[in-house]
């Protein structure tokens, strides 16, 4: 019974929208990492992580967000996180993710945030 997880990536203008579907744990986090690496290799520095279908995340998945954020911001991009279910939001909040990442209501709000504030303001 492997961990159910898939990622579908699409584009809205110059923004990559990654739909995380299922559970990100130590088993599936490498696939999440590869998906972000593929976007960066293609020169896509603006990423929305759509978490509407993300039902579970452990520190392995949180570590993926953390490992890329500085590099992405240094090149003028950002990762905006949206549509987080309460259970996953609770995990984000334990570690203080809301202080580091822009976490917004949905994909349109994340696109709007990129227009207004390309990189999260301190």
């Amino acid at each position: 019974m492997p961990t159910p997880f898939r990622i579908d990536t699409s584009r809205i203008d110059d923004i990559s929208v990654m739909v995380l579907d299922g559970q990100v744990d130590a088993h599936t986090a490498p696939r999440f990492e590869e998906a972000i690496q593929a976007e960066l290799a293609a020169g896509h520095q603006r990423i929305i992580a759509d978490c509407a279908k993300l039902t579970y995340i452990s520190s392995a998945g949180l570590g993926v967000f953390m490992s890329f954020i500085e590099e992405i911001r240094e090149s003028g991009g950002d990762i905006k996180i949206c549509s987080v279910i309460p259970k996953v939001q609770a995990t984000f909040e334990i570690l203080g993710f809301q202080d580091i990442f822009d976490i917004v209501a949905d994909v349109p709000a994340a696109v709007q945030r990129f227009r207004e504030s390309p990189v999260k303001e301190a």
């Binding site: 744990d25 130590a26 953390m66 500085e70 580091i100």
Partner: protein, 142 residues
Amino acid sequence: MTDIERKFLLTVPSSTANLALIREFVVAVGVQAGLGDADVGKLELAVDEACANVMEHAYEHDETKEVVVRATFDREVLHIIVEDTGRGFDPSRVPQEKLDRLIAAKQSGGLGMRLIKALMDEVRYEFIPGQKNELHMLKRIR
């Protein structure tokens, strides 16, 4: 009504492919113990983190090893023990840097243990030299 202690045991090969199975096990135990939804979610994450630590650090991805999860509960408390026979690794001794410092240092070390401590009511590590290592985690049933 007498307060009967209930015991559950899961032994799985040390592969991260089994983390989902471990989560299903502890969720089922948590529900049976009478934990609310939020506490079941906390238990699920804490045990996942503890087992992932064993697989990656104590056993260094050796899939011939086994991870043991023991659960015991009565009406007041749920006690989980994650057991391994690997390299003695006390996750509670991993330094816990602030998140922005970890990002600056490009590290994610200690995140799992930080979560476990935040999620469970009591956490302690027992190292029995030459035999086994045990991470004990307690959740009170309110």
